[in-house]
Symmetry: C2
Subunit: 136 residues, 2 copies
DNA sequence: TCGAACTTGCAACGGGGTTGCAGAATATTT
DNA sequence: AAATATTCTGCAACCCCGTTGCAAGTTCGA
């Protein structure tokens, strides 16, 4: 409760009920969420546009990060504190083809890759699709 | 010219000018293309819907594969012959933040990852974003 | 408690992608 | 070469995603 406000404060955001609710949904659900997921959960309380704007703000401030997907964008909490200046993510995302959930495997780092001469990598995004332990 | 028809035939597709044009655009442009790219190139000749359907058909038949991106789906040619039954891709995709082009690095394989107990991986998708040799 | 700054809801819009259907083109059979 | 079955295309319509402008409401610091 207070922790939500604290998180928002750290990132220089005003505390509003929408932001608190979106943030707590991410914390409770644990997996990566799409705008649609949030609208399903909170849509009766807030306008779609407000949810879009909340996601955009959280992204910019480093509270959440994008998760690539073959059927639409999702978002997940940044575990280590990212900031407005710098997002740092090198963990793997796993999407289950059975239950459809996408999760961050925080402990698994993306292996280093030796790129050819001239390539200057900045961000890495590895999505593995398959069956997760729950659906096994 | 004849090669286009041949490719379509191999995949049990009728030869139509739209399919020939889309296929030859992929071959000429070399990089990953979005529907919008194709519409820009061929939009005066064909309806948007036809281009969508062509992409979908090519996907199903194993002529092209999806390329994930943080700002929308793209497609690229399958180099090794994929089929309706099986798509097999383990190469890396590189997106240049300067010119915006996304390319397949066919020679670079995605390194193996040791997943925790219970995970059964099926497909891998690694996108690296940064600056490409051309924009260096 | 007041005002400046920020946030929200509403309306509207553009783009992405899909579906149904009728007409056109392709392949096949004779 | 013509007829037929099959497939493909264009059009219209539709829904979902995401954004923008603006007026009204809320937050927070002085």
């Amino acid at each position: 409760m207070d922790q939500l406000r604290e998180t928002l404060k750290v990132h220089h955001l005003r505390t509003t009920t929408c932001r608190e609710d979106v943030l707590s949904t991410f914390i409770n659900r644990k997996n990566a969420l799409s705008h649609g997921d949030l609208e399903g959960e909170l849509g009766e309380n807030y306008d779609r546009v407000t949810i879009y704007r909340t996601l955009k703000t959280f992204l910019e401030k480093g509270i959440i990060h994008k998760v690539l997907d073959d059927e639409g964008l999702r978002y997940a909490l940044c575990s280590h504190s990212c900031s407005e200046e710098k997002h740092q993510h090198d963990h793997i995302h796993f999407k289950c083809s059975a239950c459809g959930e996408t999760n961050c495997l925080e402990n698994l780092h993306i292996p280093a890759v030796q790129l050819p001469e001239g390539y200057h990598p900045e961000h890495f995004n590895l999505l593995i699709q398959g069956v997760c332990p729950k659906c096994n």
